[in-house]
Structure formats: structure tokens, C-alpha cells
């Protein structure tokens, strides 16, 4: 059963990757990266069960936490960029 789920997740990862490669805007790519991250978390959890070693859920937990930081860093990056743009326009 886990196999079915993991195949579904893998398929979604492919779709997300396609989106990330296609773009067209950078936000699509960021979104795809984010989706990719969450899917990795799921995949890891499912595989941990597939292996019969649920103690490895730590990993998935770490991913879930880290993924968020990445996305917020991107937001911060955009914010900075738009601020700089505004400043440049001021000058």
C-alpha cells in the first residue's frame, strides 16, 4: 500500500519538477520547489514505513522544518529586491 502512495508522490514530484523547469515566472519555480520539498517530506515518511524503520521519521521532520526556512528566505529575498528597486527609482 505504501508503494502505491509513494508512486503517487513520485509522480507528483515529476510534475512539480516539470513546473519548476518550465517556469515561466520565477514564482512558479519557487512554488514548484516548495511543492517538491513537501513531497520529499511525504516520500521520506512513507519510505520509512516501507523500510519498517519508523525511527527515521526524524529526517522527514527535519525536512519539514527546513523547507519552511527556505521559503521564508525567498520571501525575504523578494522583499529586499523590491525595496532596492524602489530605492533605485527614488534616486
Amino acid at each position: 500500500m505504501y508503494i502505491v502512495v509513494s508512486i503517487a508522490i513520485l509522480a507528483t514530484m515529476v510534475l512539480a519538477l516539470t513546473r519548476a523547469l518550465m517556469g515561466p515566472s520565477v514564482y512558479d519555480r519557487v512554488l514548484a520547489a516548495n511543492v517538491f520539498g513537501t513531497k520529499t517530506v511525504m516520500l521520506l515518511s512513507v519510505t520509512a514505513f516501507l523500510y519498517g524503520r519508523p525511527d527515521f521519521l526524524d529526517l522527514a521532520l527535519a525536512y519539514a522544518l527546513v523547507n519552511m526556512v527556505g521559503i521564508l528566505a525567498v520571501l525575504e529575498f523578494f522583499q529586499k529586491r523590491s525595496r532596492r528597486k524602489a530605492e533605485l527609482e527614488d534616486d
Binding site: V4, T12, L31
Partner: protein, 114 residues
């Protein structure tokens, strides 16, 4: 008996979750522009995550693993919307217009640098 019931129930949840995830993926690819794709991603993300993790929790019973699974689920549920918010906000800030209906992709190509 109860075991079988739980098993069946969790499998159903897992499969539903898988379907949700897949749908979300397809939506992310097929929907016409950025803001619609955000919907696909975030909605099915949360739903899929809940279904899959609850399914797994049922499988593992009352162990440390369940706690971890719950934590992971919680974090996914928390970060998903945050990320979506962040992205939508960023896109809006930098001028990607949320027009529905028309395909805006051709108008706004990749962000020019600075």
C-alpha cells in the same frame, strides 16, 4: 477484527491521500497561471498530507512514531499556507497581476534582474 478495520481504513486514507497529492501535482502543471497554480499546490498539499499522515498514524499505533508523524503533519500544515502566502505576496509585490481567465504567462516572462 479491529486490526483489520484499522488497516483497511488507513489504506483507504493513504490511497485517497495519494490521489489528492497526484491531483495537486497535475493541477500545478495544468492550471493556466501562477495564482491558480498556488491553489492547486496548497489545497491538495494540506489535504494530501492530512490523509497520508493520518493513515500512517493509524498504522503505527501509539508510539513515538505517531508523535513524530503528528509533528510532521503539523509542520506541513503550518508551512504550506505560510509558503503560499509568502509567494503570493512576493508575486503581487513585484507586479504579477492576478488576472484570472487569461493566460498571463506569455505577458510576464521571467523577472528581469534588478
Amino acid at each position: 477484527m479491529i486490526d483489520i478495520l484499522i488497516d483497511v481504513f488507513s489504506w483507504v486514507l493513504l490511497i485517497l491521500g495519494g490521489v489528492c497529492v497526484l491531483i495537486g501535482g497535475i493541477g500545478g502543471l495544468r492550471l493556466p497561471n501562477f495564482y491558480t497554480r498556488i491553489h492547486a499546490a496548497s489545497l491538495t498539499d494540506t489535504m494530501g498530507a492530512i490523509l497520508i499522515f493520518v493513515g500512517m498514524m493509524l498504522q503505527s499505533g501509539l508510539t513515538l512514531a505517531t508523535l513524530k508523524l503528528f509533528a510532521i503533519m503539523l509542520f506541513l500544515l503550518l508551512t504550506g499556507p505560510t509558503a503560499t502566502y509568502a509567494l503570493a505576496n512576493a508575486a503581487l509585490l513585484s507586479g504579477l497581476k492576478p488576472d484570472t481567465g487569461s493566460n498571463h504567462d506569455e505577458v510576464e516572462k521571467e523577472e528581469p534582474a534588478e
